[in-house]
């Protein structure tokens, strides 16, 4: 029986994205929300919405029992987990199944298999999928870890056995750093995934991160929708993604796609999934891991293929066969996504929290904004600092970049600091424009100010000087007028109240 009412076990832009797909398909949508999200757009735009607990995720968005209870009460027949939170927890997919609910995602067995990085490596090796040299088991203790790392040779990479998205990952360049790094990685993994196991891989230098988007139905068919290049990452968190990759030729794309399809079929995979590869300067590719969920960066694939991945996910979950064969997948133009985060790029990407009193979103030709910000929204410490995604399409990479730079220049988010100036500096750099980068790009790139044209910067500074002088001048004029008026009418009291510390209240936020 097809899905008629879908519960979205997530928040933010992805919850809104899924609600939109429900509406486009004529399916009812049920939102859940923590106390921090009562006024969030996903609550307001869904057909139904129910509270599931206090702001911290472990007390709300990670409470599978509470979410299943809402599904039962609301009469939902399916659950979409989005990304993050419960999306890659096999037990949650199992619990949905046990409760008679359709889980819009892969079967728990596939989540468990591919979520166990060690098992996934074994599966890859067994099916002739090239893998990075490394351990096939989790590290048991510090001594064993040191021995393994020496065998593989530094630099090595520590990775969380559960989960992905860069959490619980650390590059270790020398034996002396190993112990601290294991502690940090394991701690982060525990916090993020509830499980602290880590394993060790060879850390490949100057590699690109290229991933293949897959769609697999429950009838044994699997196709790929081309690749996404995600090499612009900071601390293993992607910042910019694009499709197609500027370095893949059609033959390599077909080869990587075929390998990815083979791995997914071997894993018994169903629904949308992504296989991440490392791509070396020698044009070798290595299986990195499989993300058994919708990716943050799925819109770039949507813009170049014209497909709606969430709608496809729901069709697959309904048991429908894929609507396209591999040959029917067509690619048009180029798409780029910039993740907009509430972080201060001038101060080591420190999270920036606060209220957003005003927003100016970019728009116009080739621009898509996936966001859940609204005027008055609060960016809190409880959730991911990614507040929006800006996705631009162009007929070629050059046009997509130009539109992205234009769109970023239009994006106004008052009240918080964002990584937009950083994204602008990256897009303006000759390296990015020439697609001459790898996953170490951000580390080498340094402070955005170093990449701003000094003439541009000087011109902006002049404008700031004039604006500050005018603001100060009008402040004093207004204060003088106000003071004169208040003396004349009712004495100095009102004037004093109105002006505090030399500034008119009207200019305060």
């Amino acid at each position: 029986m097809p899905i008629r009412k879908l519960l979205i076990a997530n928040r933010g832009e992805i919850a809104l994205r899924i609600i939109r797909a429900c509406r486009d398909l004529g399916i009812g949508s049920v939102a859940v929300y923590s106390a921090a999200d009562r006024n969030a757009l996903h609550v307001r735009y869904a057909d139904e919405a129910y509270p599931i607990g206090p702001p911290p995720a472990p007390e709300s968005y990670l409470r599978s029992a509470a979410i299943l209870d809402v599904a039962h009460r609301a009469g939902a027949d399916a659950i979409h987990p989005g990304y993050g939170f419960l999306s890659e927890r096999a037990e949650f997919a199992e619990a949905c199944r046990a409760a008679g609910l359709i889980f819009v995602g892969p079967p728990p067995e596939a989540i468990r298999l591919m979520g166990d990085k060690v098992a996934a490596r074994r599966l890859a090796i067994a099916h002739d999928v090239p893998v990075v040299p490394g351990t096939e088991a989790e590290v048991q203790d510090a001594t064993a870890a040191a021995r393994i790392a020496s065998e593989i040779g530094y630099p090595v990479l520590l990775k969380a056995a559960a989960g992905g998205g860069g959490k619980g990952m650390r590059v270790v360049r020398a034996p002396g750093e190993l112990q601290d790094a294991i502690r940090a990685a394991s701690g982060e993994a525990t916090a993020a995934f509830g499980y602290g196991g880590v394993y060790i891989e060879k850390y490949l230098e100057r590699v690109r991160h290229i991933e293949i988007q897959l769609l697999a139905d429950s009838h044994g068919h699997c196709i790929h929708l081309g690749e996404r290049e995600c090499s612009i990452q900071r601390r293993h968190q992607k910042l910019i993604e694009e499709s197609p990759s500027p370095v893949l030729d059609p033959a390599t794309r077909a080869q990587m796609g075929a390998v990815a399809v083979r791995a997914a079929l071997a894993a018994g995979y169903v629904n949308a999934g992504t296989i991440e590869f490392l791509f070396t300067p020698e044009r070798q590719f290595y299986f990195l891991e499989m993300n058994t969920r919708l990716q943050v960066e799925h819109p770039v694939t949507e813009l170049v293929t014209g497909l709606d991945l969430v709608q496809e996910q729901i069709r697959i979950a309904n048991g429908e066969p894929l609507r396209l064969t591999q040959d029917q997948v067509r690619f048009h133009g180029h798409a780029i996504e910039c993740r907009i985060t509430a972080e201060d790029p001038d101060h080591n990407f420190m999270p920036s929290i606060g209220r957003i009193p005003a927003i100016a979103e970019p728009s116009g030709p080739g621009v898509r904004v996936d966001s859940a910000i609204y005027p008055g929204a609060e960016v809190s410490i409880y959730y991911d600092p990614m507040v929006a995604k800006l996705i631009c399409w162009g007929e070629d990479r050059d046009q997509a970049i130009r539109r992205m730079r234009r769109a970023l220049s239009e994006y106004g988010l008052a009240g918080i600091l964002t990584n937009i100036p950083y994204q602008q500096a990256v897009l303006a750099s000759p390296e990015f424009q020439a697609a001459d980068f790898d996953t170490g790009f951000v580390e080498r790139f340094g402070h955005p100010a170093a990449h701003t044209d000094p003439q541009d910067r000087a011109a902006l500074q002049r404008i700031a000087v004039v604006a500050a002088a005018i603001a100060a001048h009008l402040d004093r004029e207004q204060a003088a007028a106000q003071s004169a008026a208040s003396h004349a009418v009712e004495g100095p009291a009102e004037g004093r109240e109105w002006r505090q510390g030399g500034r008119p209240r009207s200019l305060r936020m």
């Binding site: 080591n348 999270p351 005003a358 991911d384 002049r462 100060a472 402040d475 004029e477």
Partner: protein
């Protein structure tokens, strides 16, 4: 009326005259020719449109909540902090500043609420500018709190595992 301001921005100082005449604002930077300025509150809150001899710039201007006579500006994603005073105000502020101690211990406060994961310095340590003092977890990421200047760690006011609110004193540097 016309007034001349000393504008300090990123270490440089500019002399700007603003004249609020009958034909609108006129602005002169240093001894450059005067320019016509059109300044308009385009959108709440505090988003202004500036036309300076026709050049259009959108700029958000808010007073610094912590420092008098200081304005925070953002302009095409770039941020500036400007200190603006008239000559007379400058002289007065110098007189009053002279009465206070010019430097002293620096308290490093939590820039956001979070969980202290580790304190990586000890009392008595000498630290360089930019050296990390502690790790604060917020939004599921560990954030390094660096020393804003060189100094000696005089006191540590939090311990690993503690949850702190914004503004909570963390470390005092002498």
């Amino acid at each position: 009326m016309a007034r001349t301001y000393l504008v300090e921005i990123e270490g440089a100082e500019w002399l700007v005259t603003v004249d609020d005449g009958p034909d609108g604002l006129r602005v002169r930077i240093g001894d450059e020719p005067e320019q016509a300025a059109n300044w308009s509150l385009a959108q709440d809150p505090a988003i202004y449109s500036l036309l300076l001899d026709g050049q259009s710039r959108q700029v958000r201007v808010v007073p610094d909540p912590e420092q008098a006579n200081t304005w925070q500006l953002s302009l095409r994603g770039h941020r500036f902090s400007a200190h603006v005073q008239t000559e007379r105000e400058r002289r007065l502020s110098r007189v009053s500043a002279g009465k206070q101690a010019p430097t002293g211990p620096l308290t490093i406060k939590a820039p956001m609420p979070g969980l202290v994961r580790a304190v990586v310095v000890q009392v008595g340590d000498t630290v360089q500018q930019g050296q990390r003092l502690l790790l604060l977890e917020a939004m599921k990421m560990e954030n390094e709190i660096p020393a804003p200047r060189a100094g000696t760690v005089q006191a540590i006011q939090v311990a690993a595992g503690e949850t702190v609110d914004t503004g909570r004193p963390l470390v005092i540097l002498a």
